[in-house]
C-alpha cells in the first residue's frame, strides 16, 4: 500500500500541470483534445471494436468461471474444500436473503468509512499545506501513524467502539486516511510556481489563492488518492468484522468457514468483489465528471 500511495500522486501530477501534459501528449492526442473533452475523449472506434469492448467483462468472467470449473474437475476437490461455480451459484440463490442482509452492513460500513476517512484526510492535509508549523509537527505524526499495523489494532477498536458499525467504520476510515491525506497534501504543496507568482503580482489573498488556484489544482491528486481509498476501504470493514461483530459479510464468512459451508464463503467473496468493482467504477466516473479538465486519465484505464 505504501508503494501505491507513493506512486499515486506522482503519476497524477502531470494533469495538474497542463504544460507538461501538453508536451508529453502526441500530436494526435493534441488534435483530439481540440474536439473538446467532456466524457469521452476516445477516438471514434470501429463498431467491431466497440462490441468487443462491451462484451469484454462477460468474456473475462466466463473465462474465469471455466478455469475455476476446470480446476475443480481436474483436482476432483470435494465441495468442502473448493466448491464448483454451480454450487456457489446455488448458495447465492438459496441464501440470498441472509447474504443481502449482511452485505447491507458491510456496504454501509465501507461507504461511511470511505467518506469519513476522506474528510479526515482533507481536514489534515489542508492545514498542513497552509501553515508551516502544522506541517512541521504533524508530518512526523502522520508517518508514525502509518507505521501502526491497523490489522493489529482492530481488536482494540472493537474493544473501544463495540461490536456495532462504529468499529468497522473506524477501521475502514483509518486504512484510507493515509493515502488520501498524502495524495491531497502532495497536490496542495505542488502548485505550479508560475501560478503562485501570477497570483502574487495580481495581489491575491492567501485564502483566495487557496480557493481558486491551489485547491482546484490539487483535486486531481486528491482524486488519485481517493481511488486508492475506494479499493482498500472494503478491506478495512472486513477486518473489523472478522475481529468482532454480529453482522456483515466478514462475520458471515467466518461463521460459514467454521461450519465448513465453503460455498457460502465463496458467495460472500463474490458479493464483495462485485461491490468493490461497482464502487470503484462509480467513484471513478464521478471523479472524471467532476474534473473534466484533467487530461489523459481516461486513456490510462481504458
Amino acid at each position: 500500500m505504501d508503494k501505491q500511495t507513493a506512486n499515486g500522486p506522482t503519476t497524477d501530477r502531470a494533469p495538474a500541470n497542463p504544460r507538461q501534459a501538453q508536451t508529453s501528449r502526441s500530436a494526435a492526442a493534441n488534435t483530439l483534445s481540440r474536439t473538446g473533452r467532456k466524457k469521452h475523449t476516445r477516438k471514434p472506434v470501429l463498431p467491431a471494436w466497440r462490441v468487443l469492448r462491451a462484451v469484454r467483462p462477460l468474456i473475462i468472467i466466463l473465462a474465469l468461471l471455466i478455469t475455476w470449473q476446470a480446476i475443480v474437475s481436474i483436482t476432483d476437490a470435494p465441495p468442502y474444500m473448493l466448491p464448483s461455480p454451480y454450487e456457489v451459484a446455488l448458495a447465492l440463490i438459496r441464501q440470498h436473503a441472509v447474504l443481502a442482509m449482511h452485505a447491507r452492513y458491510t456496504i454501509a460500513e465501507t461507504v461511511i468509512g470511505l467518506f469519513a476517512g476522506a474528510i479526515l484526510g482533507v481536514l489534515t492535509a489542508l492545514p498542513m499545506a497552509m501553515f508551516s508549523p502544522v506541517r512541521f509537527w504533524l508530518m512526523p505524526v502522520l508517518l508514525v501513524s502509518q507505521a501502526i499495523p491497523f490489522f493489529a489494532i482492530a481488536p482494540l477498536l472493537v474493544l473501544w467502539l463495540g461490536f456495532g458499525l462504529a468499529s468497522k467504520i473506524a477501521m475502514a476510515a483509518l486504512i484510507i486516511y493515509f493515502p488520501v491525506t498524502v495524495a491531497f497534501f502532495d497536490g496542495l504543496s505542488r502548485t505550479e510556481t508560475g501560478w503562485l507568482d501570477l497570483g502574487r503580482t495580481m495581489g491575491a489573498s492567501r485564502w483566495r489563492m487557496l480557493k481558486y488556484v491551489r485547491l482546484p489544482a490539487a483535486l486531481p491528486s486528491f482524486a488519485s488518492g481517493f481511488r486508492v481509498a475506494t479499493a482498500v476501504a472494503p478491506i478495512g470493514a472486513i477486518i473489523g468484522e472478522w475481529v468482532g461483530s454480529s453482522h456483515g459479510l466478514g462475520y458471515l464468512m467466518l461463521h460459514a468457514n467454521a461450519r465448513v459451508q465453503i460455498d457460502m464463503v465463496f458467495a460472500c467473496l463474490l458479493i464483495l468483489c462485485a461491490f468493490s468493482i461497482t464502487q470503484y467504477f462509480i467513484v471513478d466516473r464521478l471523479l472524471r465528471r467532476l474534473l473534466p479538465w484533467q487530461p489523459d486519465s481516461l486513456a490510462r484505464h481504458d
Binding site: 497542463p18 504544460r19 501538453q22 483534445s33 481540440r34 473538446g36 473533452r37 505550479e192 508560475g194 501560478w195 507568482d197 501570477l198 497570483g199 502574487r200 503580482t201 495580481m202 495581489g203 491575491a204 489573498s205 483566495r208 489563492m209 481558486y212 488556484v213 482546484p216 489544482a217 474534473l291 473534466p292 479538465w293 487530461p295
Partner: protein, 281 residues
C-alpha cells in the same frame, strides 16, 4: 523617448495614461546561495515605452525582471524609484513564457482571474472586448486545453492587459511560439501595450530590435547592464530592413556570438586514437 509625444489613445478602454511614470532601479542586488547574480545594477525604464532586456541564458535576465515584480525572496537589496514617488509594488502586471492559464477555467474566466483573486467584481464587458481585440471572441468559453499555443498566449496577453496596470513585465512571453505566431503576437502586443511602461525579457535580438524602444544587454557574472543603440523607424520595425539587420549583427557580437573565451568547446578535441601518455599538455 516614448513613441509619441502625447498620450496615445488607450487600446483597451482604460484610463491609465495619467498614471504613467518612469522607473529607476538603483544599486540593485540579488544573490542566490552567496553567489551574486548582479550587484550595484542601475536600470531606467522610461514611461510609456518598451524596454527590452537581452543577454546570454542564465545571466539573470529573468531574475532582474522577477526582482522588479517583487517575486524574488531572499538576499535582495536596492531601491526601486518611481517618478511619481509611489512604490512600484501593486502596479505591475506579469506575463511569463508559460501562459499560466488555469486549466479548469474557461478562457474568459482566466482573463478575469485577477479580479476574482482580489475579491473584486470582474468587469466582464471589458474582458469580452479585450478577448475580441486579441481575436479570441469565439474561444472565450473554451478551456485552455482546447487552444493552440498561439491562442493560449493571446489569452495570457488579454489577462495581462485586463489587469490594467501601468507597468507590464514580460518574461520571454513569445519564446515558446513558432516564428510566424511570434511575429503576429509581437505586433499585437506592441499595439496593445502602447501607453504602458514595459520591460520585455527576451533571448531573441530580432524581437528586441523589432519592438523595443530601448535595448539593454545584461552580461557577465555578476551581471552588468549596457544600453545599446536602437534602429530608427516606428514599432514594429521591419525585420528585413538593412538597418535592423546591421543592428542585429552588432547585437549578436555584443551578446558574445564570437567570444572565443566563452566557447572553449570550439577548440579541436584531442584525437581519440592517441595514447594516454600523449595527453599531458
Amino acid at each position: 523617448m516614448a513613441r509619441t509625444d502625447f498620450s496615445p489613445p488607450d487600446q483597451d478602454g482604460a484610463l491609465h495614461s495619467l498614471r504613467s511614470f518612469d522607473i529607476w532601479l538603483r544599486h540593485g542586488h540579488v544573490a542566490f546561495d552567496d553567489v551574486d547574480i548582479f550587484h550595484n545594477l542601475d536600470l531606467h525604464l522610461p514611461a510609456r515605452s518598451i524596454s527590452c532586456l537581452l543577454g546570454p541564458s542564465g545571466v539573470g535576465k529573468s531574475t532582474l525582471l522577477r526582482y522588479l515584480a517583487g517575486l524574488v525572496d531572499g538576499d535582495v537589496s536596492g531601491d526601486i524609484i518611481c517618478s511619481d514617488n509611489t512604490p512600484l509594488s501593486g502596479r505591475v502586471a506579469y506575463m511569463a513564457q508559460q501562459d499560466l492559464l488555469l486549466p479548469w477555467r474557461s478562457v474568459h474566466e482566466n482573463v478575469v482571474v485577477g479580479a476574482i483573486l482580489r475579491g473584486e467584481k470582474p468587469d466582464h464587458d471589458r474582458a469580452r472586448s479585450l478577448l475580441e481585440k486579441v481575436g479570441l471572441a469565439d474561444a472565450a468559453h473554451l478551456r485552455p486545453a482546447a487552444l493552440s499555443g498561439g491562442m493560449r498566449q493571446r489569452a495570457a496577453l488579454a489577462r495581462t492587459l485586463m489587469e490594467d496596470r501601468p507597468v507590464v513585465l514580460m518574461d520571454e512571453p513569445f519564446s515558446a511560439l513558432d516564428p510566424i505566431n511570434r511575429l503576429k503576437l509581437q505586433d499585437l502586443s506592441a499595439r496593445m501595450l502602447a501607453g504602458k511602461t514595459v520591460l520585455l525579457v527576451t533571448h531573441d535580438p530580432l524581437e528586441a530590435l523589432r519592438i523595443g524602444d530601448h535595448i539593454h544587454v545584461l552580461r557577465g557574472a555578476p551581471a552588468r547592464l549596457v544600453e545599446t543603440v536602437v534602429p530608427s523607424g516606428t514599432i514594429p520595425r521591419d525585420v528585413g530592413s538593412v538597418e535592423v539587420m546591421q543592428h542585429h549583427g552588432a547585437l549578436l557580437r555584443q551578446l558574445g556570438a564570437d567570444d572565443a573565451d566563452d566557447a572553449p568547446e570550439i577548440h579541436p578535441p584531442a584525437p581519440a586514437s592517441a595514447n594516454a601518455e600523449g595527453h599531458h599538455g
